[in-house]
């Protein structure tokens, strides 16, 4: 066996799969960058909870972010918590308009299944959250989710 092998010249390393590897990397980076669909202008650290549920249909969820503006926007908007809808800062009375737009983008049959997810910073005060909640009630968007992360320990 050993003798037989030695007679063959060692084949050159095939580089034909190199483009595939590169494409793979390309795809990887393309996809991971797409994931962040909105540019967060507010700092959000969601509170922790134990009794959390997963949101079922991601396409039917509209996000409302609440938190204090990030470093680069501090000069203009200060540090008080603000609401962000899509890509811009908003005031509570723009929530209704935002929900209407979100509804218009979906099929009519799916509208009752739509959920609003409030991603609010744990440092935020309830005042601003309550304002948003009242606006949501006004436009009958009653399914609400307070985004929170899993907490391991449970109070006993």
């Amino acid at each position: 066996m050993k003798l037989e092998k030695k007679k063959k010249p060692s084949p050159a390393i095939s580089t034909s799969s190199l483009p595939d590897i590169v494409f793979m990397l390309l795809f990887f980076f393309m996809v991971t960058t797409v994931l962040r669909e909105t540019d967060l202008k507010v700092k959000v650290v969601v509170p922790q909870a134990t009794e959390i549920q997963k949101l079922e249909k991601k396409s039917l969820v509209s996000y409302i972010y609440i938190g204090s503006p990030t470093e680069s926007y501090r000069g203009k908007f200060g540090t008080a918590p603000r609401i962000q809808l899509n890509d811009a800062f908003a005031s509570p009375n723009q929530v209704v308009e935002f929900i209407e737009k979100e509804r218009a983008a979906r099929a009519e049959a799916e509208v009752p299944l739509m959920t609003t997810s409030i991603k609010a910073d744990k440092e935020a005060k309830m005042g601003i959250v309550t304002d948003v909640k009242q606006e949501l009630r006004k436009c009958n968007a009653l399914k609400l989710n307070y985004s929170s992360s899993k907490r391991a320990e449970v109070y006993n």
Binding site: S16, S17, D20, I21, F23, M24, F27, F28, V31, T32, L35, V46, P47, A49, T50, E51, I52, Q53, K54, L55, K58, V61, I66, T115, S117, A120, D121, K122, E123, A124, K125, M126, G127, V129, T130, K133, Q134, L136, R137, K138, N140, A141, L142, K143, L144, N145, Y146, S147, S148, S149, K150, V154, Y155
Partner: protein, 181 residues
Amino acid sequence: MRRGRGTPEVNAGSMADIAFLLLIFFLVTTTIDTDKGIAIRLPPMPEENQPENDIRIKERNVLKVLVNANDQLLVNGELLSVKDLKRRTKEFIDNPRKDPNLSESPTKAIISLKNDRGTSYNIYITVHNELKAAYNELREAKAMGDFGKSFDKLNESQQNEIKDYYRQVISEAEPENVAGA
């Protein structure tokens, strides 16, 4: 000229690569971090000309939870720490010793939650979480007692039976513009 040599075999060596590519593509597009959180249902906005709700609820059937701007908890008039809220809530709903100050039966129990505009969001979520945990634990205990199985493993009608017994009623007061922070 080439024909003479016979058609060469189609190279299937890169097939694996293509498959991997697709696999990775789908792996990545199905977003891993699904949004999680506490799901609630808001009450509908009261109609403008709706007559005042005149349903009377016995005082003992309501657990009043008040959170002030300093994140302190007042449960039925007494100061309580968040750590004790779940135990207190469970006691109130279930009322195993038939205390005349606690709810008549779990189906009649109502939890009223009220917060200030200056309450921090963090404590609000924690309180909500504790109330929910109280109900979930009671449901779990009843599932174990009645059916000998965990609540998640029961079929739908059994789950509904337990849900009807421990109806989760967390009513949030209409916001008032009280002292903010």
